[in-house]
Amino acid sequence: MKIDQQLISRLEQLTRLELTEAEKFRLEGDLNNILAMVERLQSLDTTGVEPLAYINDEGENTWREDEVQNQADREEALKNAPDRDEHYFRTLKVIDL
């Protein structure tokens, strides 16, 4: 896989980031280096090795019992929002049903 400016623009859109031209060129280099490293890893023969999804191989569940706890109150929840009213977070209108 090759990272080019077209793919960078696509990623920019998907991640809702706004990049300058300079940033885009720097990213193109970085991402290509990362992919090159991954390609090198992929040359290893992993036949018969189970894929690893989770680093800490705990071997047991970390689930919780179904209990209501640790809720924040509304004021605490809305405190750090960039925009809000008394009850809600507020954003510019985006309709995407």
């Binding site: 809600y88 209108k93 309709i95």
Partner: protein
């Protein structure tokens, strides 16, 4: 276009049904998961997607997923895993939804759906666990949307079918069957109006006999069966018209507008979603051992389609009666409990359907609160079966009286109210003589061959005896006296 053109096509539908689980807390944190609540009060650092927080799975979500999977005959994955589905939207605070993509918890299985008097199995692709998003409110302000995150992180199961449904009627039956099942299992209230059950429909058409699937369109977020039916009908016609006009159906995501009855593309192709799934590094695989699986198996109630077969075959009920009695788990269990006390299964079914279910509808009470106990109901049915009280009198007079005096034994109360049928031939003979003497013209007509008049004589006998004449004895008596 003529109807014959449409008949040359077959509709193929696959469903993605979202079931909101009736847990107390959310999927990955302890926020209250109940519907309603003041906006943004069922939230925490985790559901708000604050950095540095760590999700932990609600054990009950896994338990409910396994129960649904076992009921539907799925294979349960003993080590299912979570993935991140990435997209940006204001009601998804983390920027991704935690879901299961590579290793869903349940694989395969099928839901039997009832179509008229027959059943059809709709096979499932899989069932996976995931979390719901928050709610956006768009109609309060011309410029702004308002976000309520109470629903963000509420546990969902997504049931994905194979493309095996062939009509809107089958979709309807599938959704009703799923609703009935989740209620039987007690894992969701299944309420479509409140959004506890929603479905996405993947609709395509192909010429009959064609084995390849046509290009499909996905109609998003249908939250009522009425809308789903209309949306499917519209979409099927649209696709056939397009193909007949020489066009090709493009795979797209559609929104159905209930006001106009029209489906329209939700987003352009350039804007198509690329969810960039990857394994969720914050959650370890869900390991299910035999003890856990056995416990879920034990928690399963008798399932509606098994009860249906039992009621039809063992108790000889009609399709209609069996359908009514399996509608909800409480009714089925009540009927079975009554059947355990009486050999008269059909009469028990009639009693429940004609008297006790209407009583529940009127009072809003539970069946267990019906004034008469099961042994008392069984004794009531026995009185009818033995001919001690006529069916009509039993329902019209004895049952209301028993409901007023639930502690009285049915036989004792029937005697007290003089409702016991009599087979006393002396008494009935006297009454018969009275009836015949009062209607000499009808007797003559009868003797000339108008045997239909027997009904009239019986009616008179019932009137004179206040309904207590035993029908069998009375008919025999009258026939004897009217012999030419």
């Amino acid at each position: 276009m003529s109807n014959s053109i449409y008949e040359q096509y077959e509709t193929v539908i696959g469903l993605e049904v979202h079931v909101q689980l009736a847990t107390r807390s959310k999927a990955f944190c302890g926020d209250d998961a109940s519907f309603g609540g003041e906006p943004n009060t069922h939230v925490s650092a985790i559901s708000l997607g604050h950095p540095g927080t760590l999700p932990r799975l609600n054990k009950q979500q896994a338990a409910y997923a396994v129960r649904l999977g076992l009921a539907l005959g799925c294979r349960i994955d003993p080590a299912s895993a979570f993935d991140r589905k990435n997209y940006f939207y204001a009601d998804l605070p983390k920027g991704y939804q935690i879901t299961q993509d590579r290793r869903p918890i349940c694989v395969g299985g099928a839901l039997p759906i009832k179509l008229g008097e027959t059943w059809k199995e709709i096979r499932l692709h899989h069932i996976h666990m995931e979390e719901d998003a928050g709610k956006s409110i768009h109609d309060q302000d011309p410029r702004f949307s308002f976000i309520d995150l109470n629903r963000a992180g509420v546990p969902l199961l997504e049931v994905v079918t194979e493309p095996e449904l062939r009509s809107a009627e089958e979709v309807d039956a599938f959704m009703s069957g799923m609703q009935q099942l989740v209620r039987y299992l007690g894992i969701s209230d299944g309420n479509m109006e409140e959004g506890s059950m929603r479905c996405d429909c993947n609709v395509s058409v192909r010429r009959r006999g064609d084995t390849r699937l046509g290009e499909r369109c996905e109609i998003k977020n249908l939250n009522s069966m009425r809308y789903a039916r209309r949306a499917i009908a519209y979409e099927v016609k649209r696709q056939i018209d397009l193909i007949e006009a020489g066009g090709k159906v493009a795979q797209e995501t559609l929104h159905f507008d209930p006001d106009t009855g029209v489906t329209s593309p939700l987003r352009s192709k350039e804007d198509a979603h690329d969810y960039r799934y990857f394994p969720e590094p914050d959650l370890p695989p869900v390991l299910l051992d035999k003890i856990f699986l056995d416990a879920q198996e034990r928690a399963l109630p008798a399932l509606p389609w098994h009860l249906y077969v039992q009621f039809r075959n063992e108790y000889q009920l009609t399709d209609y009666d069996a359908g009514l009695l399996i509608e909800d788990r409480e009714t089925a269990a009540y009927f079975q409990a009554l059947c355990a006390q009486t050999p008269h299964k059909k009469a028990a079914a009639n009693l429940i359907i004609n008297k006790i279910l209407p009583w529940r509808r009127e009072t809003g009470a539970e069946l267990a609160d019906f004034p008469l106990t099961l042994p008392s109901l069984a004794a009531f049915l026995q009185l009818i079966d033995e001919g001690k009280v006529s069916n009509a009198i039993a329902y019209q007079r004895l049952l209301p009286a028993l409901m007023e005096n639930p502690s009285k034994a049915p036989l004792a109360l029937a005697q007290e109210l003089e409702l016991i049928q009599t087979a006393d031939t002396d008494l009935l003979g006297e009454l018969a003589d009275q009836v015949l003497a009062a209607n000499p013209d009808k007797v003559a007509a009868y003797k000339k061959g108008k045997t239909g008049l027997m009904g009239f004589f019986m009616g008179e006998m019932m009137r004179l005896s206040k309904g207590q004449a035993d029908p069998k004895t009375t008919t025999a008596l009258l026939a004897e006296k009217l012999k030419v």
